[in-house]
């Protein structure tokens, strides 16, 4: 088994995954644009996908990890497509993509 050799590789890629997740969280927290919020979500999902593939590589179970990664990608695409439809619907209602201008639900 190549576990000890892969320990360093796992942590290097792990750091990259953490940085990608930080970028996604920061993007979601800071932006006021609906589309950029979706892009932040997408970055977070990419971090998760990479972590799954990395875990599969390190543990020697690449087939299972690939299968899981493909499931994650399919779910991600459907979520983004529906969310893009919702964003378009909101734009038709309020005429803007700015999150702060969406006050219809304010109680």
């Amino acid at each position: 088994m190549m576990v000890s050799d892969n320990s360093a590789l796992f942590w290097i890629f792990g750091v990259f995954t953490v940085l990608l997740a930080i970028c996604g969280f920061y993007c979601i927290l800071v932006t006021r644009n609906f589309i950029r919020t979706l892009i932040g979500l997408e970055l977070l999902t990419k971090a998760v996908t990479l972590l799954v593939v990395l875990a599969g590589y390190v543990s020697g179970r690449t087939a299972i990890s690939q299968s899981l990664a493909i499931t994650i990608i399919v779910v991600e695409v459907v979520v983004i497509a529906v969310a893009a439809g919702i964003v378009f619907g909101i734009f038709k209602q309020i005429g803007s993509l700015n999150v702060t201008k969406m006050r219809n639900l304010k109680g």
Partner: protein, 140 residues
């Protein structure tokens, strides 16, 4: 611009997946994430109202003000994780016989495929409902 940057991130992720012995997931990532999702984002951006030039200038200025913390945060986190963290050795795992991807995908994870089909159908239905034009009272 951000949509194209996201596509570039997808391409980098594809290369990393190739490096990690996951070629099928990598191809999937490249075609779906770098291709389809970019198309979705670009379509959404072009369907929504384009901003005027002074608005764009102001937005870019505000964005730079809000985003300049990000490289600092990323650098500090990378430095912290890279230099100050003690990396534990991963536990030894039981070696498994090499299973073929096709066997896993079509036999072991059969329920996942079913779930994926249901999710895709739900997504298609959702998009159709969301993008359907409202008919007026004459039924036109």
């Amino acid at each position: 611009m951000s949509a194209i940057a996201l596509a570039s991130a997808s391409i980098v992720l594809t290369l990393l997946m190739f490096r990690l012995d996951a070629p099928i997931a990598a191809v999937f990532e490249l075609s779906v994430c770098a291709g389809l999702i970019t198309v979705i984002f670009v379509s959404t951006i072009s369907l929504t109202k384009p901003v005027t030039r002074p608005e764009l200038k102001q937005q870019t200025k505000n964005r730079i003000k809000r985003y300049w913390y990000l490289p600092v945060l990323v650098f500090v986190t990378a430095a912290f994780l890279g230099f100050y963290m003690v990396y534990p050795e991963l536990p030894a795992l039981v070696s498994l016989p090499d299973i073929d991807f096709r066997d896993v995908m079509w036999k072991l994870r059969q329920t996942d495929i079913l779930g994926q089909i249901v999710i895709i159908l739900a997504g298609v239905f959702g998009v159709v409902v969301l993008l359907k034009e409202k008919m007026n009272h004459d039924g036109q």
